[in-house]
């Protein structure tokens, strides 16, 4: 789902000020605006409903308890929250093993059906399976590629906001996105075009 930070930046700041003044409706409004993109980002990265819900909750509590953390000059509020969520995800996974089984399964599947791993999207019989496979491949990407791909390609976030989330330069976002697409194509065992139109 696309979002336009220009439409919400100023009023997000106003909402955070109302939160600081104790207006309970402000927190609810902030949540309604930004919870979806943050949840979807974490869900896509972790592949877990419960992890995504827990991280979303922690993210908003962090926002409401440390209201001064958001600086609209550095990106949209959604980008800020995705950055907080990303940090929380990495902190959680620091103490756990990487989803190696998923990666190994992907490699095994690739060997089995190297010729045509992804059918055309309109073939509904295989659509769900192929979509699950694509998601698994995205999750199997190195995290610095995966996060940018999810933010830009799946969340339609601007390069500037994606840069704010990952704490990198916009040029780095472009190069990581290109490499992420190339790596994803490799994982899906099919040569695909790397180049693509520039993002917003």
């Amino acid at each position: 789902m696309a979002f336009d930070p220009r439409m919400t930046d100023e009023s997000d700041v106003a909402l955070l000020m109302r939160c600081a003044e104790g207006d309970p409706s402000a927190a609810a409004e902030l949540y309604r605006r930004h919870a979806g993109p943050v949840y979807r980002f974490v869900w896509m990265v972790t592949g877990s409903d419960s992890e995504a819900a827990d991280v979303l909750q922690e993210t908003f509590i962090a926002l409401l308890e440390r209201r001064s953390g958001y600086d609209p000059a550095r990106g949209s509020c959604t980008a800020y929250l995705c950055g907080v969520a990303r940090h929380l995800v990495y902190r959680r996974f620091d103490s756990r093993s990487e989803p190696v089984a998923e990666i190994e399964q992907l490699a095994e599947d690739s060997a089995d059906s190297a010729a045509s791993l992804l059918p055309p999207p309109h073939e509904h019989a295989e659509r769900a399976q192929a979509l699950a496979r694509l998601r698994a491949a995205i999750r199997a990407l190195p995290s610095h590629y995966r996060d940018i791909l999810v933010l830009v390609e799946l969340q339609e976030m601007s390069y500037a906001d994606a840069a704010a989330v990952a704490g990198i330069e916009i040029g780095t976002v472009r190069s990581r996105l290109a490499r992420a697409r190339a790596r994803l194509a490799e994982l899906l065992n099919e040569p695909m075009a790397i180049g693509r139109g520039q993002g917003t």
Partner: protein, 160 residues
Amino acid sequence: MNLPRDKLDDWLAVARAELAQIEPPAWVEASVVSRQAEAVLLKRLREHPPAAVKAPSRQWRFIGWGLPATAAALLALGAAMLLARTPPAQVPVSAAFVALTPLETIAAERSPLVIASEVPRSQLASLGVPVDPARADLLVRAEFLVSRRGAVLAVRFSPE
């Protein structure tokens, strides 16, 4: 069907559309809003205490709650006797709080409030204190130790 070179883009578009349908569970919003409301309430309690409030010092709490339960019971009995005998002009005095909940519960409360009030003696009966029916309407000064969630943990009868 031949696979187009931009098939990855096609599938990313499908994944994008599917992802847009996913919504967070409702309990997260309820939890976040509830947490915010609780934080606001605590902030207001700190800024505008309900009465002459002072948090008991750690030392005071230790002395008060370190007493054995039997001592607390004896103090309660003494306070009750004072209430029953003291004329209205003389306020009954009890130096220590009388526990109304298990001492472990009180000790676990991190930041209790002390709320001073005047209550009819008749209401002391609900706390287990014997009351002379003839003087049940007279007021007595008391200080209540209250948890942050509003539970009365202990009471003491204070001088003027």
